[in-house]
């Protein structure tokens, strides 16, 4: 049955479809509706547990611990809360706990502009916690796709045994669209990790070997462990090389946009080619190289000051032009004028 629902509702429904049994969170606009739905669900369904934590630090730790205990778990927050979750994100990779972190982005830094939409937490996916880790992150651009990608994110988490990130923005969180979720068929990867109480394992954030023995003074054991982790994550990421590409009339110019920005620049599809990465991280290196190759001008339009643009430059070893939509300003006319300005005289 078709129904009108918001991005936040679709994410929650997606999590339920994927078999989620635990949610921990802390209220923060624009992700609070996910927390509210979890509270309501926990009342009805004894198999679903919920914690409204004292802060996002606790929410993230609880999400990962619940995963170790045996439940498919997830949490949802926004930029400032995601900053507090960074510690747990690193820990989640170290203890190899499959779970989902939803980050509905708003303008930062710090409290920023509550609650104007932004896409400015891309670097936080990868760079917020100490040390090396290789997270997988997806970014939908519609209500229906939020549902699908939530299930995909849960699947990728189970396969990679790590926290997987679902990026979102304030506009998509509260965007209402028609969708028929029951008609959407999705494959669900079941839990394979043994829950707690089945052995004598140590789940630790301290460096350890494959057996879970603490090794704080053994570079070789650390290298082995990290290489294993990296290889596994990149392999799983390769299973989901998700993107969209629309060739346009202009043979020289390619626009790169994702999330809500890709919806806003969609009317330019007639004229320019548009590339929309859906798997935001690890960066779609092969795909970007192939798609961008024939174009002279590449313009990245995003709700931050060039975060994806710098990743794209690294991936394709070329300079790209940037149109940063800052402070929650995502007006098509303004974006269009900026594109014209960049292309002037070229």
């Amino acid at each position: 049955m078709k129904q009108l629902l918001s991005g936040n509702e679709a994410i929650f429904q997606g999590a339920i479809r994927a078999g989620a049994g635990y949610f921990a969170g802390y209220p923060i606009t624009p992700s609070s509706e996910i927390l509210q739905q979890a509270a309501a669900r926990a009342e009805e369904d004894p198999g679903f547990r919920f914690l409204q934590a004292e802060d996002e630090i606790a929410a993230a730790i609880a999400t990962i611990s619940a995963s170790l205990a045996g439940a498919k778990s997830f949490t949802a927050t926004s930029g400032p809360g995601f900053s507090l979750m960074q510690e747990a994100l690193g820990w989640g990779h170290a203890v190899e706990a499959p779970c989902i972190f939803v980050n509905s982005m708003r303008v930062g830094p710090s409290t920023g502009m509550p609650t104007q939409p932004a896409q400015s937490d891309l670097l936080q996916i990868k760079g917020g916690s100490a040390g090396d880790y290789y997270p997988i992150a997806f970014y939908p651009n519609s209500v229906e796709e939020s549902f699908r990608l939530t299930v995909t994110a849960f699947n990728a988490a189970e396969e990679s045994l790590s926290p997987v990130l679902l990026l979102f923005d304030a506009l998509l969180s509260h965007l209402y669209e028609m969708a028929d979720l029951d008609a959407i068929e999705v494959a669900v990867v079941p839990r394979t990790k043994e829950p707690l109480g089945r052995g004598q394992r140590l789940f630790t954030g301290t460096a350890h070997d494959r057996m879970g023995n603490v090794k704080t003074n053994d570079p070789e054991a650390y290298r082995d462990w990290l290489n294993d982790l990296k290889e596994r994550h990149l392999q799983v990421a390769d299973k989901y090389p998700l993107f969209e590409y629309f060739p346009g009339k202009d043979p020289d110019t390619l626009l790169i946009a994702f999330g809500i920005t890709s919806r806003i620049v969609a009317p330019l599809k007639e004229r320019f080619s548009i590339f929309r990465p859906i798997r935001i991280y690890p960066v779609l290196e092969k795909e970007l190289k192939k798609v961008t190759q024939p174009y002279r001008h590449i313009i990245v339009i995003e709700g931050n000051d060039g975060q994806y643009a710098s990743w794209a430059e690294c991936a394709i070893s070329r300079k790209v032009m940037r149109v940063p939509c800052l402070g929650g300003g995502f007006k098509l006319r303004w974006i269009q004028s900026q594109i014209e300005e960049r292309l002037k005289g070229r």
């Binding site: 609880a62 619940a66 109480g197 052995g199 630790t204």
Partner: protein, 346 residues
């Protein structure tokens, strides 16, 4: 003959352990393991959770599924595990810096939510692993490497934090008072709900020596001088007392969101006051303070705002204040707190 079967619960292959000779943590680990063994708690029904620091390493030496969390987050992790898996016994082994300082907020809120977990806090009044910095429980005046002239602040009393909640279980013991220590462990493990054992322990290498103690044994004698055991039921423990302070669920808790229903006295049964009679009750010469409001007379003598004087800013005692309160910034709710003593003559 000493029963050594508790060793089945310890990873003996990983010994010698990481702690210094004379450290109290060994006693904590051994006695907890002995009691778990006696209660039949094993790797199928028990999970240990620990934080960071010397004491945080305890979980890694147990032959149980163990979760070694980031600094301060042990309680949150334990609560989430217990929520998802009520079938597991969850035991937290950590220290005073981890639970009291960086994890202080979680201590406050996890104890408030009262999950059925048991916490053993190795309280050595110092940050040991990092080299002997002052901690939250370091007694005032103690010289440490971060308080070279003596700690200037009062120590955090963990018991006082916990006993503000109801129900609660807080035990204080030391590694020296062995029988008392064992009794506290047993009672805490069997307590239904959040139980916390504050185990005063020694850190001879990084605290004791600086305080002038030559051996761990001298520190134990110091514990013997500082503390004495108190028997029986207590609500609180004084700073020099060892014992158990506990309270079961309070007899009658008013469910949240439900306001007490007051028995209304029939309007006709009330004594009538004329404006002149009312004027008499202005609080002077030991008379009560009455005011009129919407046809009723209230005794507001208990209001702190009317103490000492007849007037409180613009409201005059002994008068019908219906019109005054209508325009006052506060609502009429303020009036309803007070008992009705009569009605105004129409």
């Amino acid at each position: 003959m000493i029963n050594r079967s508790y060793k089945e619960l310890l990873k003996m292959g990983r010994f010698p352990h990481t702690w210094c000779p004379g450290c109290g943590i060994g006693a904590v680990l051994k006695n907890v393991a002995m009691d778990l063994r006696e209660l039949g708690w094993n790797d199928r029904n028990t999970t240990v959770v620990s934080g960071i620091g010397c004491s945080g390493r305890m979980a890694g030496y147990m032959n149980l599924d163990a979760v070694h969390t980031p600094h301060g987050r042990a309680l949150t992790a334990a609560e989430a595990i217990k929520t998802v898996r009520p079938d597991l016994n969850v035991v937290v082994l950590s220290g005073d810096g981890d639970l009291g300082a960086i994890g202080g907020n979680h201590l406050l809120h996890t104890s408030r939510r009262n999950p059925d977990i048991t916490v053993f806090c190795n309280d050595n009044e110092i940050y040991g692993l990092t080299g002997g910095q002052a901690g939250p429980t370091t007694p005032k005046g103690t010289k440490t490497i971060t308080s070279p002239r003596g700690e200037i602040f009062q120590p955090l009393r963990l018991g006082r934090i916990l006993t503000t909640q109801a129900p609660y279980f807080y035990a204080r013991t030391t590694v020296y008072h062995l029988n008392h220590f064992k009794a506290c462990i047993r009672e805490a493990l069997l307590w239904k709900g959040f139980s916390f054992v504050d185990i005063i322990s020694d850190c001879i290498e990084l605290n004791g020596r600086r305080l002038g103690f030559k051996t761990a044994h001298q520190m134990f004698k110091w514990f013997d001088e500082r503390f004495h055991i108190v028997e029986g039921m207590r609500d609180h423990l004084k700073d020099d007392e060892l014992g158990i302070a506990k309270r079961e669920v309070e007899a009658e808790e008013v469910p949240m969101g439900k306001v007490e229903v007051k028995v209304e006295v029939k309007h006709e049964d009330l004594k009538t006051f004329t404006p002149e009679e009312l004027k008499h009750f202005d609080g002077s010469e030991g008379r009560p303070i009455y005011i009129g409001y919407k046809g009723k007379v209230y005794d507001i003598s208990a209001s702190p705002l009317f103490q000492g004087e007849k007037k409180m800013r613009c409201h005059i005692a002994g008068k019908d204040l219906t019109k005054d309160i209508e325009i006052a910034p506060h609502g009429e709710d303020l009036v309803y707190h007070f008992p009705i003593v009569g009605r105004l003559k129409e």
